[in-house]
Amino acid sequence: MVDRGDAETMLRWEERDGRVGHRAKVAKAPDFADDLVPGGFRDNLLAVTGVRRLLHVVTVERTSECVAVLDRRDKTVVRVYLERGIATTGARRRRLPLWGRVEGLLGYDSAFAALTRFLESALGLERQDSTEFELALAVTGVVPANQTTLADLTLDPRERADCATRRVLAVLFGTLQANEDGVRRDLDTEFLHDFRVAVRRTRACLGQLRPVLGDQLASRFTTEFGWLGSLTGPTRDLDVYLLNLVGYTAELSDSVRPDLRPLREHLTRRRQAAWDDLLEGLASSRYQRLIRAWRRVVLSGDDTNGTEAARPIRVVAATRIRRAYKRVRRRGRALETATSAESIHELRIACKKLRYLLEFFRSLFDDGPGGEIIRALKRLQDDLGEFNDLEIQQDELQESARVLLHDGRVSASVLLTMGRLTERLQLRQHVVRRRLGEGVSGFVNRRTASIIEGLLTTGDRLGRRVTSSR
C-alpha cells in the first residue's frame, strides 16, 4: 500500500490480518519491486511480485484521527484510529463507512483485549476482520486479478467432449483477453508471457483435440493462432534474453561488465522493434477477425463437428493423453542416440502438448495423474526450456555481434566479452544437456506408463458404462 501523506510518501506492507509489517519511505509509488532501495522491504516484495509491475487498484482519500491509550507510565499500549474515507477507482467514487481500527502493540496483549472487550460489550460495536484495502474493494466493486484459470475449471467426466473442450477453450480465451491490454501497454513482461501461453495452449488444444473439434475448424484456427504465436515470439525471446542478461552480466568480472552495454542497448532496440511489430499485428484486421470468429466458436460452438464430439470427455481425454505420452516416450528415447538441438526441440514440444492435456483435464482424473508425474514432467520441461533458451541466445549473440561489427559500433573488447559470454552459454547448455538424460528417465518410465494406462482403463470403463446406460 502507498500512503501519501502531507509530508512524505510511505510504502506500507500490510498482512491479510491487517498487521503492518515493513514500511519504507519512497519518493513516489514504485513501478516494480526492483525500483526500491535494497533492503528487507524490497527483498520481501520481490519474493512476491518478481518481475511483475505493481498496478494501481484503488485510491482511498482518508482522514484519520488517532487516539493513543496510555498506561500509568504514559506509555502507549493500544492505538485507536477513527477513519473516514472515499474510495476511488476510475470514475467510481464511493464513501467508506466510518471505520474504527484498533491497533495492539507488541507485548501489550492484555490492554488490547481489555479495550476490544470494552468496545464490543459497553459500546456495542461489531468486530470486522476485513482490512481497509478489502473494504475499499468491496465498496467500489473492484476484483483484482479477476481471471478464471484452468485450475478453477471442473469438467464432468460424462460431459460431451465438444462441450468440455469448448469450456477449456473459453478459459484460455479469457486469459488471452485479460492479458491483451497489459501487452498493448507493455506493462511488464509477464502479460505477454501469459498471453503467449494462452495462445500456445489454444493451439495445443486445436491440434490434440482435432477429432473433437472437426478438421475444418481445427485447420482454420491452427493457422490463425500459429500466426498469433509467431507474432508474439520475437518480443518474448528478447524479453527472456534481457532478463537473463542481468544474471549473466553479474557473473562477469567488474572490469569487463561495461563491455556488455552495447549488447544490451542493441537487444533493447531490437526488442522495441519487435514490440512495434507486435502492436501493429494486434491492431490489424486479421487479429480483429480472428478474435471475433474465435469468440463465436467458443461461445456457441456450432462449428464443432468432429467424429468424437459426442463421446464422453474422460474417454477422449485419456486416449489423447496416452497418445501424447507415447510421443514423448518416442522422442525421449531418440534423445539417447541423437542429441541434436532439433531433436531436443521436438521432445520439448511433445512434452508441452502432454503437459497442456494434463492441465486441461486435471479435474477429470482426481485418482489419476497425481502431482507426481506432473512434477517429473515439469522438471524435464524446465531443463528443455533452459536448453532451448540458451540455444536461441547463442544464435542471437552471434547475430548481434555481426550487426554491431557491421555498424562499426563496437570495440574489440566488447566483442571479446561477447565471446566470453557465448562460451558461458555453451558451457551452461552442456550442463543442461547432460541433465536431460536424467530428466527423461525420471519421467519416461514404467511408473508413468502405468499411471497413464490407468487413466485409459478407468476412462474406458466409464465410457462403456455411459454407452450401455443409454
Binding site: A24, K25, G39, R73, K75, T76, Y108
Partner: protein, 104 residues
C-alpha cells in the same frame, strides 16, 4: 554488518541516550529495529517508558528456556521494538560465559 559502539568509561555521559536516539533515527528510515536493553540499570527501557520486568531471570533467557519474543515490547515509535531490561542482567557476563549456546 556495521557495528557502532558508543562507549566511555565514565557513567552518565549519554552512551545509552545516544544509542536510543540512533535506533530511533534508523527506525525512521523504515528499517525494523530491536533495541536490546542488556543493562541492569534499565536506562533504555526507561527512555521508552516501558516497565523493566521479566518473569524468571536472565538465566532462563540465556539458557533459551523462555522465548526471547515474549520479552519484546513495541515502543511508541513505528518499527522500533525493545527487549526489556531485567535486574538479573547484572550477572549476564558470567551467564554468557557458562552458556552452551555461546559461540565465539
Amino acid at each position: 554488518m556495521i557495528t557502532i559502539a558508543t562507549y566511555n568509561i565514565k557513567g552518565g555521559v549519554g552512551k545509552t541516550t545516544t544509542a536510543v536516539n540512533l535506533s530511533y533515527l534508523a527506525a525512521e528510515t523504515g528499517a525494523r529495529i530491536l533495541v536490546c536493553d542488556l543493562d541492569p540499570q534499565a536506562a533504555a527501557t526507561y527512555c521508552f517508558r516501558a516497565k523493566p520486568r521479566i518473569r524468571g531471570d536472565g538465566r532462563a533467557l540465556v539458557a533459551r528456556k523462555r522465548p526471547l519474543a515474549r520479552h519484546i515490547r513495541q515502543t511508541d515509535h513505528h518499527g522500533l521494538d525493545l527487549l526489556l531490561a531485567h535486574f538479573s542482567y547484572r550477572h549476564l557476563d558470567l551467564l554468557l560465559d557458562h552458556s552452551k549456546y555461546v559461540r565465539r
